[in-house]
Every structure is written in C-alpha cells, then in structure tokens.
Amino acid sequence: MTNAVHCHQLCRKFHQGGQTIHGLDHVDFDVAAGEFICLTGPSGSGKTTLLNAIGGLDRPDSGDIAVGGVSLNTLDQGALADLRLAHIGFVFQSYNLIPVLSARENIEFILLMQGVDATERHRLADDMLREVGLEGLGSRRPSELSGGQQQRVAVARAIVSRPTLVLADEPTANLDSHTAEQLMALFAELNLRHGTTFIVASHDPRVQHFARRLIRMQDGKIIEDHPLAHD
Amino acid sequence: MPLSLRLAWRNLWRHQRRTWLTVAAMALCNTLLIFMIGLQAGSYLTMLNNNLAVFSGHLQVQHRDYHDQPKPRFSVANGVALAARLRQLPEVSGAAARGMGFALLSSDKRSKAMQVIGVEAEYEASVSSIPGTLREGQYLSADTPNGVLLGQRSANHLKANIGSEITLLGSGRDGSFAASVLTVVGIVDSGMEEFDRNTVFIRLSDFQDIFSYGDEVSHIALLSASIFEVANTQAAIDGLIADRETLRSLDWDVLMPGLKQAIQSDIASALFIYTVLIIVVVFSVLNNQLMAVLERRKEYGILLSLGVAHRRLIGLLFTETALLALLGLLVGIALGGALNEYFAIVGVQFAGMEEMGEKFNLPARIHPITHPLTLLAGPIIVFIGSVFAALYPAIKLRHLNPVSARAGL
C-alpha cells in the first residue's frame, strides 16, 4: 500500500538579512493512509513550512515529497493545484476566508470548482455548517464572524469535499476549549469513518489527545516521532 | 523644506506606481490641451489673417447705412481724398478706397453676372493680398485705362486672355444704364474659389465713370499693424471721421460676423472635449486620493487618537494633492511645450485639410502657437480641478472617528 505522505531528506532554507535559516533540515518521515498526526514544536520550528511543502504550496530546496504516491517534484503549478483541489484540505494559520463570500459560499467554493452541482453543494455546505456548530450563520460574511467562527468555517471548507489528506495549521488557536474539542472530535470521526489522513500542527494538548501519532520538531528537524496511546 | 511638506511628499511616494500613473494621466491631458489649444490659436490666427488680408481688411469706413443695406446710394463722398487722409494716421498701415457694383460681363464667347470692384490701383496692395497673386499680365495702373483684372476662374469661364475685350453691362448709381468695353490686363488667383469665380477688378476712376459715382466710393478698406491693434486703430479712425456724420467705421467682427462665429463655434466644440478630458483626469486624481485616505484609516485613527486635529490631516491631504498636481503640471508643460515647438517647425496636416484650406483660405499645414496663455491655460485648470478633487476624500477624512478608524472600519 502506498503511503499517504512520503518525505525524504527535505531541506528548505530561508535567507534573511545575510543569515540562513533552516526551515526544514533533512526531514524524513512517512505517513500511512488513515493516520492522525499531531505536529508540534516551538514557534519557528518549521511546522508551517513542512505543511506548505506537503501541500505543494512551497517547493523544498532538496529532497522528495510524494502525496498518495505521486511525487510533487514532477508536477507543475497547474497539476499541483489540481492535486490540492482533489485530495487535500487546507486550514491555514492566519488568513483563511475569501472576504466577499459568505460562510456558506466559502465552504461551497471548493465544491464549485470541483464541479459539484448546486443542490448537492447546498446540502453538503448546510450539513457542514451544522457539524461545526454554525447553523444559521451561513449567510454571514467573514467580517461579520468572530475569529473562532471564521476558523470553524475554514475547517468546514477543508473537509467538506472529503479530501484524503487534511493539513491543518493551528485549527484550534482561536477556539474556546469546548468548541476546540468538538472540532477535534469531528476530525477524529472523519478519520475513523472515512480513513481521512490528518496532519495537524498545534501546540494544543487537546489536539494531542485526539491524535494517534506525535511528531515534534525543533529548528527544522524532527526530534521526536512516536505513536500516542490513548485509553 | 517644512516638515508638513516633507511628510506630504513622502506620502505621495508610498505607492510609486499609483502616483506615476496619476501624474501620467495629468501630464497626458496637459500635453493634449497645450497642443490642441496651440493648434487652435494657430489656425484661427492664420484664418483671420488670411481672410481679412485677402479683401475685407481689418476695418472699413462706410456710409452709416451701407452695411445693413448695401445700396449704391449709401456711398462715401470724396472717398479718395478721405482715404489719403486716413493713410496719414500712424495707426493705419494701409488704406484704399473701393467701389462695388454688379454687372454682366461678356467676352465674345461667354457672359456672366459678376461683382465689379473699382480699386485704387496704387494703394490696393496695401490692404489686399490679391494684387500679389498676379498670374499673368500686369496689375491695374495709370497706364491701363479701361483695363480689367480677372480671377483665374472667371477668366476660364469667360474664355478670356490678356488683351481680350470684355463688355460690361449694368446699371449706374443713379439707375442709368452703365456700359463699357474693357480690356483684360491681368489675371489673379486669390485662392478663394467663390470669390475668384464671381469678382473682377477695374480702376476706381473707371468705376466711378462707368457707374456714375462721381467722386463717391463704396467703402475704404483699412489694415492696422496687427489684428490685436484693431481697436486702437479704429479709435484713431473714428477721431478723423468724427466730423462726417454719414460715415462710420466697422471692424472685421462686424464686417465678417461669420468668421468670428465660425471661430466661436469651433472653440465651443473644442471646449466640450477639453472639459471632458479634464473631468476624466480629475476623476483619476479623486480616485487616487480616495484610495490614499481609505488605506490610511488606521494610521489616521492613531494620529487622531494622539490628538492631531482633523484639519491638520486635511491640510496634509491637500498639500499632497497639490504636489501631485504640480508634478502633472510640470511634466505636462514640458511635454506639451516640446510637442508644440516641434510642430511649430514641422507643421500639422490633417485629413481633409487641403479641401478645407480652399474653403477658408488656409495653408495646407497649420503651425501651433506657443504663447504663455496657450501653454498655461489648460494645465492651470487641470491643476485647480485636481486640487478640488481632494475635496471628497477630505470630507471623508473630516468625518473619521478615531476609534473606528483605528480598527480599520
């Protein structure tokens, strides 16, 4: 069986003011389909950089990445975009929603591009809004939602198209602990029911509580990688 | 440079590309305005000079009623003597008396009704360009009694050459029968088709004999040193003829009302284009400054919270706009001036110009004029309009609330 994600000797350097920063420093790891990984580490350790590389948003300086057995090095921008659209759900750390679209439309946006027909789109989006606890807020624009509500819309958009791989960067950052747990429970359920692979970058212990594998990074290197046992 | 000016200048360059685009819009508009206004001024001046210098003159002295009712009986007595006195005036650069009549002219092959003009042969050249356009033969003079000068086209029509005999039949001033046999002495080409087709010249003394005018003339045509000094010259003339109640002087504006109106209607349609151009540019400036104010809300919010008064911020905005407009003005004047200078040398030629030239007696090329007025009029209006464009953004700024502005709302 092919791995959901395969990283081999990934390096990504940033040059800033004459200094070289190792965003990723020879990162090696594999993710099997259906895993639920918590990616943790101090601020600036390279979590976002790694997620961007896996999502094909950023090209590493060296090393290989394969998603679903397809090597990203061989794909051009257009093919990478298609790959993201079809297989990957993204939740970004900071800027997530298109301001001119309502919450429901933001969720539908991906489905629209995938060519899903209108009634199906509406149904899926409404289901999704309910699942993330935003029932009735679907017609609001992002500027009319709180930070946490916006974050939930972003999560809903990332999973509505049933991607095989979800890359989430601090999805619980703006959420109260109750909502955060609800969201993680939703992730866990999707993971169990559909075998969706999750890689969630977070400092949040509640995320670790739901994850089944922990990868800890520091200075662009993986310093810890082990399964998490839950009772 | 005072701090506020420096601040305004720096603000201007926060978005270099945006600023340059707006400056370019203003500069282009200014260049167009300078060029078009220069071209208009150039063509009007040529049109005036050419039209007036051909025949009518800048001014005429006529019988009081002649202009409204051009009848032979409304004539100027002792015209030749009066013309001589007018010629003495320092303001007058040329004066010549004329008689105007209608007659049927016949060669041995053809006949045609035409205007017959009696001219003072030795002075006509000082008020009209026609003597200078002699194509064949010689001009009228003391040595050409009963000589007639034909236009190129009327000569063709009458199938007459130098030396041909032309019979003139008409009616005299007193209603009597006027007839004479004339000899063609020369052929001229005024360049004005209609005029050329319908006009012949004879000596004033012959005219007075044939049409029974005695010592009367129809008018005295006068030229002043330039079109801009007509008013002065007219005042001098009026002084001289003050004692003769039946006479009055008329300037070109009255003599050829069509000319001024044609120019005016041309100016009106040009003004329409200019206004639209200027509005479009002012809108560009308005947008530019509106964007500047909108994107600086947070910053304005902070400054307002710190205690900077609204009016200081508005002052800053206007300073910035004025600097922007000034750039457009300078670049525009430089480009427009250069363009004008270039075409002043080369000349501008339009489609249809040759045909128009025949109609209005214009040369085939027009040379734009560069004068402080043609150079500055357009750009200054654009400048003022642009500064006014900051009014709306300023009003928005005026109503900015520090708290919501800081939140970027």
């Binding site: 995938q114 | 685009l21 008409g170």
Partner: protein
C-alpha cells in the same frame, strides 16, 4: 479533474469584488460613463453637422445622383448642356432602380430691379417632376411655386429686400444664351421663399424649365439630370449602371459633389476613432490604477485561492471579469446618458445666434445630432477592448503570485 469556476460564478465574484470598495468603483464607472457619453454625443453632433452641410450643399439642386457634362462642375456654363433624355437613357431612368428623376438648368445670371442689380444663380426645373422633398421644403412665404408652364420666378425673401422690389413686380434676368449671345428676359416675381441659410436665399432664383429654356434659346436642353434612387444603399450600383450607359458623362453621388465634404465624410471614421482612442488613453491611467489597487489590496486572498487549488488562468479570468463588469457598467450608463441627451435634442438645437458662422461653413443654424449604430458599436467596442487590454498585465501578474508568499505577506 480540472479546477474551473463556472462563468456565472466568476461574474458573481467579480460583481462582489467590484463593490468591495464601492466608492472607488463608482468614481471609475463615473469617469467611464462621462467619457463614453461625451464621445457619443460629440460624434452624433459632428455627424449631424456634416450631414447638414451635405444637405445644405444639395439644397439648391438636390439629387442622390447627378449627371452633368464633364467640365460643368468646374465651370457651370450653358455650354455644358445635353438634350432631354431619350432612348436607352430614358428607359433606364424610368426603370426600377430610380424612384424619380428630373432635368434641370442652372446658370449664373444677373437680376435687376428698377433700383438694384445682383448676381444670382438661376435654376430652371420641372415642378411636376420634383417631389415634395426638393426645393419645396423651403417655406414659401408669399405667392406660389411655378407650374410647369408658368413664366414667373420665385426669389428668396432677402434677395427681394436687396432688390428693393416686391411680389408681382417685374425683374430683368440677364445671362448668356446657348448661342453665346446675351439672353435676357423680363419676368414677374410669383413667389417668395425663406431658406435656412440667408446665403442661399440671396443667391437662388427658380423658374419653370420651359420658360428658362426659351430664355436661353436652348429648347429641350438641360444641364443636369438629377436622380433619386429607390434604395439609397444600392446607389453605387445605380451609379455604375448609368456610367456604363453614358461612359463620357460626369456622374456623381451626392456625397462626392463637394470635395471638402466628401473628404470629411471619408475621414470621419478615422477622426472619430482618434478621438475615442485619445479620450480612452487619458482614462486608461485611472483605470489601470484602479485595477492595480484592487489587486494589490487582495494579494492575500488571491494567494488563498491559489492555495485552495484555483488555477492561475482562473485568477486572471476573475480579474478580467471584474474589469469587464466595470467597463460594461460605465459603457451602459454612458450610452444611456448620451441616448437621453440626443433624444432630447432630436428636433435640433437652435443656434441662430451663430447663424453667420454656420453659414460660413455651409450649415444651417439648427443642428440636429445624427446617431449611427455604427458609432455606438465603435465607441463601445474600442472602450471595451482597450479596457480589457489594460487589465491584461495586472491580471497576469495576479495570476503569477506565489501562493504562500501572497498568503503570508503583511
């Protein structure tokens, strides 16, 4: 699978993006609308003026097509005459392409009353053959137009005044006869007309053709055949048919008769195009600025869309759609404004205060704008095409942002 936003959604997104910064868009649309409206208005006025000049030029002797002897137009003398049509020519004239036709005489003449003499243009025509749309359009203020066999003349009101005479009085007309000798005739003034242009009113004197033929001693001869075609769009065909029939004759369409006017008519489209392009370029700087700013402040969002899987071409299309919506709005409002203005002026603008100026360029002092659909399409087309061209570069740049760089820019 390929990521694609359906057009309707693309437009909907463009529409919303446009109203995000509504003031900026309104200002831009306003500028576009003003420019478009002004251009359309000005073009219609220019066309109207030119049209009027052509019409006035023809007023004296109307006709879609005019046949003369070669040389006549340069030297309108009785020497250039031809017999009244017969045979093949007559058959063609009475054929299907011709609505009606007539023969005319037109010579320079001198008219004298008891007090005054003037040079005029004497026109002989067959009243029964000339339709309602010819000279008769001029207002007859006194008396009657001639009948085919009448011997009287119709003069303009201002000529009447200059000649110091009145209706019913006799005048003497003198010209050159067909034999080269002087021909004169005494005639009674039977009608007085008013024209739009005093210039014409003073020059044109009308009489019935037979009376004029006998005065000029050229029975049966005419100088001009005027043809009114049944279908103006097929005038060229009719012209070439007559030219084949009369290879040596000078056959001119109405728009060729005056060299100045025909040059202007030929160049009108070019002049209009230059005008629109110049106006647009002035506008373009503001347009580019608006577009660049609209993209500049949306960099993050564009990054997000790219990250979500939207293709660069789709981003570019989105920007183009936004520009298109902006342009179409401006154009629509501009067209509506120009339409209203032109509609309210469809009966003509009274410019009698400038009558002499208009007379000098050969136009009546009443200007009726002439609207052509062609001008509308040309103006709208040029503005849309150039407007979209302006957005190409910003759109291309937006499409080539790198997603994370855009997303994490501050």
């Amino acid at each position: 699978m390929s990521a694609k936003l359906p057009t309707t959604h693309l437009l909907a997104l463009a529409w919303r993006n446009l109203w995000r910064n509504s003031e900026r868009s309104v200002v831009m649309i306003g500028a576009l609308a003003i420019a478009v409206a002004a251009m359309l208005f000005l073009i219609a006025m220019m066309r109207g003026l030119l049209n009027d000049m052509s019409q006035q030029n023809l007023r004296a002797l109307p006709g879609d097509l005019q046949i003369h002897q070669p040389g006549y137009l340069d030297d309108p003398s009785i020497d250039y005459r031809m017999p009244w049509p017969s045979g093949d020519l007559l058959a063609e004239l009475d054929g299907v392409g011709v609505a009606r036709w007539s023969g005319r005489l037109s010579v320079g003449a001198m008219v004298a009353s008891e007090r005054e003499a003037r040079g005029i243009q004497l026109i002989g025509y067959v009243p029964s053959r000339e339709g309602q749309n010819s000279f008769n359009e001029w207002r007859l203020i006194d008396g009657d137009w001639p009948s085919d066999d009448s011997k009287g003349v119709v003069v303009g009101a201002s000529l009447l005044e200059k000649l110091d005479t009145q209706l019913g009085k006799r005048i003497v007309l003198t010209s050159q006869g067909a034999d080269g000798e002087i021909a004169d005739i005494g005639a009674r003034i039977i009608g007085v007309y008013r024209a739009e242009m005093a210039q014409l009113e003073e020059r044109l004197v009308y009489m019935a053709l037979p009376a004029m033929q006998s005065m000029l001693r050229s029975p049966d001869d005419i100088q001009q055949i005027a043809i009114f075609s049944r279908d103006p769009s097929r005038l060229l065909d009719v012209q070439s048919r007559f030219q084949q029939l009369l290879p040596s004759a000078d056959i001119q369409r109405w728009d060729q008769l005056n060299s100045y006017l025909s040059a202007m008519l030929d160049n009108m489209d070019a002049i209009i195009t230059v005008l629109i392009v110049v106006m647009f370029i002035t506008l373009a700087f503001g347009l580019v600025n608006t577009l660049v700013m609209a993209i500049f402040e949306r960099v993050k969002e564009i990054g997000l869309m790219l990250a979500l899987g939207l293709k660069p071409t789709q981003i570019a299309l989105m920007i183009l759609a936004e520009t298109l919506v902006l342009l179409l709005l401006g154009i629509a409002i501009g067209n509506a404004a120009a339409g209203l203005a032109l509609l309210s002026l469809r009966d003509g603008i009274d410019l009698s205060a400038m009558a002499e100026g208009f007379a000098m360029i050969g136009a009546a002092p009443s200007l009726t704008p002439q609207f052509l659909w062609r001008d509308l399409w040309m103006c709208n087309g040029i503005v849309s095409v150039l407007g979209l061209a302006c957005s190409l570069l910003p759109a291309w740049r937006a499409a080539h942002y790198s997603p994370i760089e855009a997303l994490y820019r501050d």
